[in-house]
């Protein structure tokens, strides 16, 4: 049998697995793989400017297309720079395969140049990882890595390949897909589905609480969620990661729940008699104070990851399954048991009462742009184009989640679990590559955008027409907001000093730059951005001290929601200060 080098086997296996795009950065320990890449034309390599950006770009690609993202970086600093994105993908359940070069086998453990213990470092921030020491095992490892990354709860898998293994040869053979040792349960127990459906039919105050699992499960899960919502008439809320599963224009949509969720979503969770959690994980940002979380409800939890069940909140009925499969079963069981559409008019009457508080309203101003106004203007100007929105992390992210309406899944890419500043621009680049015709906008803050600003060059190189819309308030606004709530407005290091001129910076990289300073420039500035056929960076100056409300302070109950900024200020006690 003809022998091939490890590098050739790797590239061939990636092709067999349908990989079209790899995000990476070359270096000494991956030169053989880069040479193999040079000699083929099936896989497109996207050269980022920092390895962290390669991982976020792969996440953006994966989240917007449903396909796994692939990253290729060198040993040592290449691998350690990728760690943040690997952890981000683990927290947000993003399918990703990260290939790292390693020093030659004989040098492992000698503190060789650009050596890092990649397998050790990534062991607990990846779903699984490998050190492949024999080219003959490479194809099997890559196949299993893709299976693990995409099956069950998706996540990042790291394959560390020493340089000598890339050069050494082995017989080239096609492995069968190794699915034997990792086969997570995806089909729900039928009795549990029937019990859940009967609970839903009998509930007086039900609520569907959906999460990123619905997006991960694929478009069919979204369709089925909409059908279940239609059949039951139940209100629907979602986590940050699940936005878009139910259209924001639906009457049954309550908005996002949790720390910066809507009044109606959080009150409905608190007063519900039945919560159906669908692909969501009762994260601390969702539950608030645990002992006060939805005290009178029974809870059904559908999750593909058994360890998510009873982790934070005790549930009455666990269902371990792929949420799409479970939704199909629930819809079928609802119909088979001929449940009529329940009369939830009393429940909806109460919800309408909470809605009437209009918790997302804000005091608009004529002399400066309120950040919420900017998001709404962007939404109004782009909604007919079904844009893909990415964000960085902070106030702008929460305002985008609150004020931008998502009608479809895979359109909202944000770092939820890890909360990684610097996510949005590379994620937008990845999303644009996966969706060449889509309008992709990174809604950013002036602080976050600087964490991966070097990626302006990547977009320029590949002629990607991504847009960056910076809500520039000259503060790390969420830090400043917490300092106001918790530390008597002692703004320790939260001012964004020495900001660059973003317009000129964009122009230096070959982007178009637009400055928006006053409310009367907002619509025209957005129109200019959309009209330009190429990458645009918009520096939108917004009210400097605006804060993001509603807010449930860390450790508070859903009923202790702050709706207005003037309801709180001052100093919190140590118990509150210790909470994240």
């Amino acid at each position: 049998m003809a022998e091939k080098s490890g590098a050739d086997i790797l590239i061939e296996t990636l092709c067999d697995l349908g990989v079209e795009v790899v995000f990476g950065y070359p270096g000494g320990a991956v030169l053989p793989i880069y040479d193999a890449l040079f000699k083929q034309d099936r896989i497109k390599h996207i050269l980022v400017r920092h390895e962290q950006a390669a991982t976020h770009a792969a996440e953006g690609y994966a989240r917007s297309t449903g396909k796994p993202g692939v990253v290729l970086v060198t040993s040592g600093p290449g691998a350690t720079n990728a760690v943040t994105g690997i952890t981000d993908a683990l927290m947000d359940s993003i399918p990703m395969v990260v290939i790292t070069g390693q020093v030659p086998t004989a040098l492992i453990g000698t503190d060789a140049f650009q050596e890092a213990d990649t397998v050790g470092i990534t062991r607990h921030c990846s779903k699984h990882n490998y050190l492949v020491k024999d080219p003959a095992q490479l194809a099997d490892a890559v196949h299993e890595a893709f299976h693990i990354a995409t099956a069950g709860r998706p996540g990042p898998v790291v394959i560390d390949i020493p340089k000598d293994v890339q050069v050494a040869t082995a017989p080239s053979r096609k492995p069968g897909r190794n699915t034997q040792r990792y086969a997570p349960q995806t089909k729900a127990d039928a009795a549990a589905i029937e019990a859940a459906v009967d609970m839903l039919a009998a509930a007086e105050r039900p609520i569907l609480y959906t999460g990123g699992g619905i997006i991960n499960s694929g478009p069919e899960a979204t369709r089925l969620l909409r059908e279940l919502a239609e059949l039951t008439g139940a209100p629907v809320t979602s986590t940050l990661m699940g936005l878009g599963a139910l259209p924001a224009s639906s009457d049954q949509w309550l908005g996002m729940l949790g720390m910066h969720g809507t009044y109606e979503a959080n009150l409905a969770m608190n007063r519900a008699d039945l919560i159906i959690a669908l692909g969501s994980r009762f994260d601390d940002r969702v539950t608030g104070r645990l002992d006060a979380f939805s005290p009178n409800s029974r809870k059904v939890h559908v999750d593909i990851d058994r360890s998510s069940i009873n982790k934070n909140v005790r549930v009455d009925l666990p269902i371990i399954a792929d949420v799409g499969s479970a939704l199909a079963d629930m819809v079928a069981a609802w119909k088979a048991r001929k449940h009529p559409k329940p009369d939830l008019s009393e429940w909806w009457r109460r919800i309408e009462g909470w809605r009437a508080r209009r918790c997302l309203d804000f005091a608009d101003r004529a002399d400066e742009i309120m950040p919420q106004r900017a998001i709404r203007a962007l939404y109004e100007a782009t909604k007919h184009k079904a844009p893909i929105i990415t964000t960085e992390v902070g106030q702008h992210q929460m305002w985008a989640a609150q004020h931008f309406g998502f009608e479809a899944p895979n359109k909202w890419l944000t770092s939820g679990g890890l909360g990684t500043m610097g996510y949005g621009l590379p994620a937008a680049i990845g999303a644009q590559l996966g969706n060449p015709d889509a309008l992709v906008i990174d809604i950013a803050g002036e602080a976050s955008i600087q964490m991966n600003i070097q990626e302006l060059a990547t977009a320029t190189q590949y002629r990607l027409p991504v847009k960056i819309f910076i809500l520039n308030n000259e503060y790390m606004g969420m830090v400043r907001q917490w300092q106001e709530l918790t530390y008597q407005s002692r703004y320790s290091e939260s001012y964004s000093d020495a900001l660059p001129d973003f317009v000129k910076l964009g122009e230096a990289y070959g982007w178009k730059g637009i400055l928006i300073e006053r409310p009367d420039q907002l619509d025209a500035g957005i129109a200019d951005m959309l009209a330009y056929d190429g990458p645009v960076i918009v520096d939108c100056r917004v009210a400097k001290l605006a804060n993001c409300f509603p807010m449930i302070p860390s450790g508070a109950a859903h009923t202790e929601m702050i709706l207005e900024g003037n309801e709180v200020s001052g100093e919190m006690d140590d118990e509150a200060k210790a909470l994240v």
Binding site: I148, S307, K311, D574
Partner: protein, 171 residues
């Protein structure tokens, strides 16, 4: 403000895993990463082809955390099966210790007499020392070591706990 501690109870788990590089680090690291305790951890290959290992872990945790520990272990790709022997019911636990004692005269005679009571074997003897091998439950070994400290204990090596369920079924 002071840090709160949660009440916990002791459990013995067996974990059947693929015997691959890094598996021990993966298991031990999961415990440290998620803030779980390990009182004892033993590992050994259990099949002819050396493909599978059995790990015995003694941990203490609240009932809620125990459920999480098991779910988190089962989530690891190389883990085949996790059994909570404590929750399952009757099982036996054994540990082996090697205990070095040095002394002469009455101490030496007393050490040998106590070793007999505890059914410890003498593995090595010199004019002024013994190495005893003792097996048993954790309490028995603790007690034996405590007694030896009165008669010239030099050092102790312990294996940690191995455990298996009672009766004819595999756990």
């Amino acid at each position: 403000m002071h840090i709160k501690q949660e009440a916990s109870e002791r459990h013995t788990l067996t974990v059947i895993v693929d015997n691959e590089p890094g598996i021990l680090a993966r298991i031990a690291g999961l415990f440290t990463a998620r803030g779980y305790n390990i009182e004892s951890l033993t590992v050994s290959e259990i099949t002819d082809d050396r493909a599978v290992s059995r790990i015995t872990i003694v941990t203490s945790a609240s009932a809620h955390v125990m459920e999480q520990i098991i779910a988190q272990l089962e989530r690891l790709v190389p883990v085949h099966k996790v059994t909570d022997l404590t929750a399952l019911g009757p099982h036996v636990e054994r540990e082996l210790a090697l205990v070095k004692v040095a002394g002469t005269g009455d101490h030496r005679i007393e050490a040998l007499r106590l070793a007999e009571v505890y059914r410890a074997h003498v593995l090595d003897a010199t004019i002024s020392s013994f190495v005893f091998e003792v097996t048993g439950g954790r309490d028995k070994i603790d007690k034996f070591v405590e007694l030896m400290s009165e008669v010239g204990l030099v050092e102790v090596a312990r294996t940690g706990v191995v455990a298996i369920s009672r009766g004819k079924e595999a756990a």
